[in-house]
Amino acid sequence: MTRQEAEAILQKIFKLTRFYDEQWTTIEKILKGERVLLIEKTGFGKSLCFQFPAVIHNGITVIFSPLIALMRDQVKKLNSLDISAKCVNSEQTQEENTQIITDAKAGKIKILYIAPERQENSEWIEATRYMNLSMVVVDEAHCISVWGHDFRPAFKRIINLVNLLPKGLPVLATTATATKKVEADIAKQMGGNLTVIRGNLMRDNFKLFVIKVSAEDEKMIWLGKNLDKLPGSGVLYTGTRVNTEIYSKWFEQLKIPSVGYNAGLDTESRIAIENGLMNNQWKCVISTNALGMGIDKPDIRFIIHTQIPQSPIHYYQEIGRAGRDGQPSYIILFYNPEDRKLPEAFIEGGRPAITKYEKVINAIKNEMLGERDLMRRTNLKQTQIRVIKADLIEQKIIREVTIGKSRKFEYITHAPQLTTRTFEELRAAKTDDLESMIGYIETTHSRMNYLCNYLGDQVYGSNNNCDNTGLKKIKVIVTPEWTQKLQDFRDEYFPELEVETIGTNLVNGVAASFYGFSNVGAALHRSKYENGGDFPDFLLKLILKAYRNKFGQEKFDLILYVPPTKSGDLVRNFAVKVSQVLKFPISHNLSKHRITSEQKVFENAYLKADNVRDAFIYKIPAEIQGKSILLIDDIFDSSATIKEIGKYLTNLGALKIAPLVIAKTVGGDLA
């Protein structure tokens, strides 16, 4: 097919007049059945490079993509052009996915988007036996490489698949962010016969700023004062989930429309937020790095980071979604020298201790185990198990297999010894990356050039689009008025306890503070573990304030408290004081009828839940019938205890159970 012929089809089907040269070069190769790695910036039009050939080919094109939001967007767009495209993903019901897979088998679908994890699904694998496959696309191909910013083990399987595909079947891998090292790694993994096409990654519509501060308060104050002055809508990246919550409450108080977004949200909420962002419902979405890669919004006008990312490549990826329409977009990074501690901790703590690896290996050597069993056998956190699992699979020590419908880990016959060499190499590489990120902050030259250099891009000429090259530097001015506003906010801010579950009458409660905030954690620790006597009165004042903030003048019929495992009468005495002030009757009839261990001993939610299951008993069950209950405890971590008691009291006829605790920990596993 000549370019002219192709462009005639392009006009007819895609309503576009012409290809860019690099697009056509790619498409020409694909049409010849070749393999291509295409590295082009966001907004270049990478998807046309597979969508066009997909339409020309007879059979189906399968696109492996990790980004559900992006799949949805592209499917919508293709359908509007009358091209039959569908996606299979975890957000759809099983019936929907099954129907789509059936249609794909029957040849009714031209373009099928699918998450790499689907390769583990037997229904899908079974279906692939019957599909007339024309092409395979690996989107976000940097996820293949551990040297990239977003390595995903599921991509390993896609690479294995690509290497098994017959000669002549075209394969296209695309990414917007790959350093030379990542590029070489992808090319190597995909085997020979691969053409790399790399475009320039420069984004000249960006206005790049770094704001150096010396306290968290300065970030909050600057944003409070200026967020509304920025054009359009955008994204604020905060690094941690707790901070997404704090910032969204802060903006709520300032009446700036915003919403918090993190990976812990359910599908429905996530879609609602993504849609809201598309429709400019909010000034900004406040997110951990869970959001953004997949959002196909052309006019994101600003992207702000309150926390430095781990590397320039993370940063380039996260800011990459701004200004796809080519219009000016503000890219702002706050930096407090303290901030490097978070990525440092992440790099240091990125891998569990070697003894934990050994624990896992020994458990799997003895028995074929699923993830849940493995967590129970080893008492390790799910997050740790997942890191260990991925490493052990990578090192060919274990593998994950399907037995019936469940996934199990098995030890590989004659497996090699665990080696830490790659861990050390990776850690060294990550430390270097973080230094390069600090380098971005400290550079006195063009920031865009700095990023492009880092990515291995050819940099042409000078770029005058940052605060080192022509734009005015931003300084934070703290006024007493704003300091007071922030103080007022802090005084009124209490973390929510999300415990509402179907089947119980639990309602969300409130904590007086986060455990690590101010002196609350320390005070609790003194009383609990250093014989410091009863919880101090400032905690009582704080918890009463939290109560009023959350429940106002609401009255409860009864106060109960969580019976202790170790720390004696601390919680009892504290609950008595709360009851005296609020004037709700207190009962001491909730107790444990068997010995449990301290919840903190258990690293994961399964063991925590096992530990307290059916452990509680109420002496006079009739007292509970028809009551609203305020349930007091000192520390809220995994929610397992509260949920267990909530379930028990619901069964006894309680109408409402609301937890009230002194401190909520951060990062409870599976919470």
Binding site: R157, L164, M368
Partner: protein, 379 residues
């Protein structure tokens, strides 16, 4: 080989080609023309036809197989991910015992397996017998498995009830090594991998299948798997056989093809066909597997058997031909270039238990019942 898995799956399961035809093709492109399977599938139809003498039907089969390569790639990926290995007949890892015993005509082009494949290179025995064997036979099985394990010989088991299962369990009990030859696809063994997990992890069990990875258990597959069991074993012990069924046809066939087969010498009052097998030339053994002197076939007998070998090949060819339809004696002699007289062939066909005659003029022959038919086990 790993990257060629899709091609090997395509070749190994060419529909209704049979091992001989597939292997002959492999010999031609791989050994004679030095092509990889990938190269072979890149050839044009005219090259397939001209260089390989393939007919219209075969080329159609190959075209379909080629169009399914991408699908096979998905299958292969999931096989590898689950820890299965694919060993093609051209691989140095392919069991030499199997090739030597089964030859071109009966050796599968591709083995699917999981576990310690080193086991395939060890000396091996198969202990075969009825699904409903007597305690005596099971005791014998246990004892032979024990002795084999002591001598580091691998026990090959078909994973059927009775003798097969006991042979396997005993080998495990005595810390020996075993090969489980599945009567189904390698991916459908599900909970079996859980049951033998420890043995597989420790390298003491190899699970092996020659069928399409997702094929469920079927009687035909169980029959077709028997030759593989015999083929993988350097020695064959029969614990108990009735005068029909899988064990009987397997052993009598083996005897016709001069394999040394040991049969447990039965007690006087036993109701089985062990004695019959011994009379047909199997070696009677005692409880410890030691040959009982007077029943050992003498050397002269062995020599005579060897001389007869060419006829046996004819038998295979004849049976294979009859599977494809009805033929008269003349047709058969023409198609299989053999030096028998028409008379000789007619007698052979009339007395062969797998062949039935059709009263047409001229008299024709075909195969009795394909499903219940035991495949020829030995060359």
């Amino acid at each position: 080989m790993n990257n060629e898995a899709a091609y090997w799956i395509a070749l190994a399961h060419l529909p209704r080609w049979g091992y001989l035809k597939i292997n002959n093709l492999i010999i031609k492109f791989y050994h004679e023309n030095k092509l990889t399977p990938e190269d072979f599938f890149q050839l044009s139809e005219s090259e397939w036809s001209n260089q390989y003498g393939l007919g219209y039907k075969e080329i159609e089969d190959l075209k379909i197989a080629k169009s399914e390569l991408a699908n096979n790639a998905f299958l292969a990926e999931s096989l590898f991910n689950e820890g299965y290995e694919l060993i093609p007949i051209t691989s140095p890892e392919y069991s030499k015992t199997l090739k030597n015993n089964l030859k071109t005509a009966h050796t599968p082009a591709l083995l699917y397996m999981k576990g310690n494949k080193q086991i395939m290179t060890e000396k091996s025995i198969a202990i075969v017998g009825s699904r409903s064997a007597s305690d005596l036979s099971l005791g014998f099985t246990d004892n032979i498995a024990k002795l084999a394990s002591k001598e580091y010989k691998v026990v090959v088991s078909g994973f059927a009830k009775g003798v097969d299962k006991r042979a396997l369990d005993s080998a495990i009990k005595y810390k020996g090594q075993s090969i489980i030859v599945l009567p189904q696809g390698i991916m459908t063994f599900g909970s079996g991998y859980k049951t033998y997990y420890k043995q597989i992890v420790d390298g003491d069990v190899l699970v092996l299948s020659v069928f399409f990875p997702k094929a469920p258990w079927k009687a035909e597959l169980a029959m077709a798997r028997n030759p593989i069991i015999y083929g993988l074993a350097s020695e064959i012990y029969v614990a108990e056989s009735s005068d029909k069924g899988g064990t009987w046809s397997g052993v009598t066939d083996g005897l016709r093809k001069n394999r040394l087969i040991y049969v447990r010498n039965p007690e006087p009052n036993e109701n089985n066909a062990n004695l019959l097998l011994i009379q047909k030339g199997a070696v009677a053994v005692d409880f410890n597997g030691m040959p009982i002197k007077e029943l050992v076939p003498d050397e002269k007998q062995m020599i005579i058997s060897l001389v007869q070998e060419p006829e046996i090949n004819y038998e295979y060819n004849i049976i294979e031909l009859l599977k494809t339809g009805e033929y008269g004696v003349k047709d058969i002699l023409r198609k299989i270039q053999m030096n028998w007289t028409e008379e000789q062939l007619r007698d052979f066909l009339r007395t062969h238990k797998e062949v039935k005659s059709i009263n047409k003029k001229p008299l024709r022959f075909t195969i009795k019942n394909l499903v219940s038919k035991q495949k020829s086990l030995f060359d």
